[in-house]
Amino acid sequence: MTALAQAQLEVRGLTKHFPAGEGVLGRGSWVHAADDVSFVLRPGTVTALVGESGSGKSTVARLLARLYDPTAGEVLFDGKDISRVRGRRDILRYRSEVQMIFQDPFGSLNPVKTVRYHLARPLLIHGRVPRAGVDERIEQLLETVGLTPASNYLAKYPHELSGGQRQRVAIARALAVEPSVIIADEPISMLDVSIRIGILNLMLDLKERERLAFLYVTHDLASARYVADTVIVMYAGQIVEQGPVEQVLQEPLHPYTRLLLASVPDPSIAERAPITVLKGRASAAVDPPEGCRFFERCPLRLDICSDVTPELVESRPEQSARCHVTAPSSTLREDLHVEPVQ
């Protein structure tokens, strides 16, 4: 089973703090965009990284793509920490293994270059095929992403393609260097509704056929459920819950996951209870004090929640949450006499 497969990419205690804009005279606020984030990506699986804007999910994606240096923690690729690698060759090698797809297929393609150019470039830079084999490989790539017949697309410019076709070109470009990991940052959120499923299906096909490991970064729980095997929920820079996608969505542990689920429009539910949201700090990730970052908005909070930062506790098999109430640590369970919610 996939769970036993070797981890392709492992993230351990990944942390990134940004200086906050405020405090010109050195008040020195810090945004904890990612705090102690750990997970593994395995071949042939899709891991969804879910959260609202400002939760830190894109920061994590960018740390994996080596667009930022982490404040602390490690990114292990095939067991080697690459988070602080500086040499151009090492970075190039890592990037050929870990590719990124961005949200905006309009912005990520060069408007004055053809499809052929976009796909030939990575092949030549990374020297994946001999010069003579480039055209054949490009056609193969276009077919892999469902742009057939390839000859129809080679000479096209981005503006001649629809949004979905553009995103397929971006995916083909990522595949050109034969990566083992793809980080897809909101790859469908800017596409028309009717073609989103097509891109998600392509991810599923690639996961199965090419045994790729995907990190699918999204704010959309329904699409996460559709493609992912595992889901990671982030709030204010921390992982608050993770586990098998079906288990987490059907029986969420963390109150924030529950709030998210109660908020998503779902046509299969005719009537639903209104949600109540407690007001909290606008950004719980700025200079977070000790305690749970969801404390102010949490309907289940206890006194301890504002004093002690909860750990990520595995409270059901493979499913863990960062919550004193629903996933208390064993020491806390004895001290407080709280029982985990089943």
Binding site: N201, H219, L221, S263, P265, D266, P267, S268, I275
Partner: protein
């Protein structure tokens, strides 16, 4: 979110007063018809959802109702009737009164439309003084009341836009749209840029306000699943035309148009089995040269010359008209029409 307004279920749509009516409306950008022969009506106190993909003409309809089309966009035919009166030919002064007082609009990412260097309360004052004789002090007081109405601390009228979160800015804009107590509020993707939790909070609040104050809403979005929860009635638009229209609860169960069905199968569910979905093959047409006949025919799973030559000829040569398949449920589809 709770179910749509109870009273509206008791009063059939046909017996409620028609507020706004579009008759055979056509809007063109130069030669391209972005909206082509649309008939649509909104009753007093009704929430009508208008769903479709980008470029289908749904925002153009909103702009036509507000009479804020910018050249080269122009009304190429048909009429926009507000309480039976055509507003297309109205003078600038008449339109000034019509906007905000009769019909107001919340734009897509309206939260970014606030003036960044002006306190939000002042922006309320500006807007109100442009429409009625009111002292600055009274206008500010009214702004405070409206802030409370949309769930913001009235003291925040002194805030600048950047001091408010995205959700709060969007609430401010909704409060502004309600300031002059319009009978119809047009909302073009009002919550698309917001996080889901904030989106749901705002929709809940909007629903409460709508029940309390009784204004009608034209709610425009690409998110059909949201409309099924929020709207009383839903119209589906494709390539400049309305292709299906019905009560929200009815459409959810009994949609007939292949495009509507395709859209519904484009939203993966959060519950129930996870099955492989297909979405809709292809992409929406270029409206500079729309397909002959039914505009959906290149993407339609039922348009196949091998399966049914006669139907195929019809689909590729004759534009289907909206036909009533059941009371209050209209569909523009040759296949459905043949099955009647």
């Amino acid at each position: 979110m709770t179910a749509p307004v109870e009273e509206s279920k008791l009063v059939p749509a046909s017996e409620r007063e028609t507020l706004l009516e579009l008759r055979n409306l056509a809007v063109a950008y130069g030669d391209v018809r972005a909206v082509d022969g649309v008939n649509l009506s909104i009753s007093a106190g009704e929430i009508l959802g208008l769903a479709g993909e980008s470029g289908c003409g749904k925002s153009t309809i909103a702009n036509a109702i507000m009479q804020i089309l910018r050249p080269p966009a122009h009304i190429a035919g048909g009429s926009v009737l507000f309480r039976g009166e055509d507003i297309v030919a109205r003078s600038t002064e008449e339109l000034r009164r019509y906007r905000w007082q009769n019909v107001s609009m919340v734009f897509q990412s309206a939260m970014n439309a606030l003036n960044p260097v002006m306190r939000v309360g002042e922006q309320f004052v500006d807007m109100m003084q442009a429409h009625e004789r009111i002292s600055k002090r009274d206008a500010l007081k009214r702004a405070g009341e409206l802030f409370e109405l949309v769930g913001i601390d009235p003291r925040r009228t002194r805030a600048y836009p950047h001091q408010l979160s995205g959700g709060m800015r969007q609430r401010v804009v909704i409060g502004m749209a309600l300031a002059l107590e319009p009978e119809l509020v047009i909302m073009d993707e009002p919550t698309t840029a917001l996080d889901v939790v904030v989106q749901r909070e705002i929709l809940q609040q909007l629903q409460d306000l709508q029940r309390e104050l009784g204004f009608a809403i034209l709610f425009i979005t690409h998110d059909l699943s949201l409309l099924f929860e929020f709207a009383h009635r839903v119209a589906i638009m494709y390539a400049g035309e309305i292709v299906e229209q019905a009560a929200a609860a009815h459409l959810r169960e009994h949609a007939r148009h292949p495009y509507t069905l395709g859209l519904m199968h484009s939203f993966p569910p959060l519950t129930g089995p996870v099955v492989r979905m297909t979405g809709i093959p292809g992409a929406p047409p270029n409206l500079a040269s729309p397909p002959e006949g039914c505009r959906f025919n290149p993407r339609c799973p039922h348009c196949d010359p091998a399966a049914d030559r006669e139907l195929f000829d019809l689909q590729t040569s004759v534009r289907p008209l909206l036909r009533e398949v059941e009371a209050g449920h209209t569909v523009a589809c040759h296949l459905v029409e043949r099955e009647l």
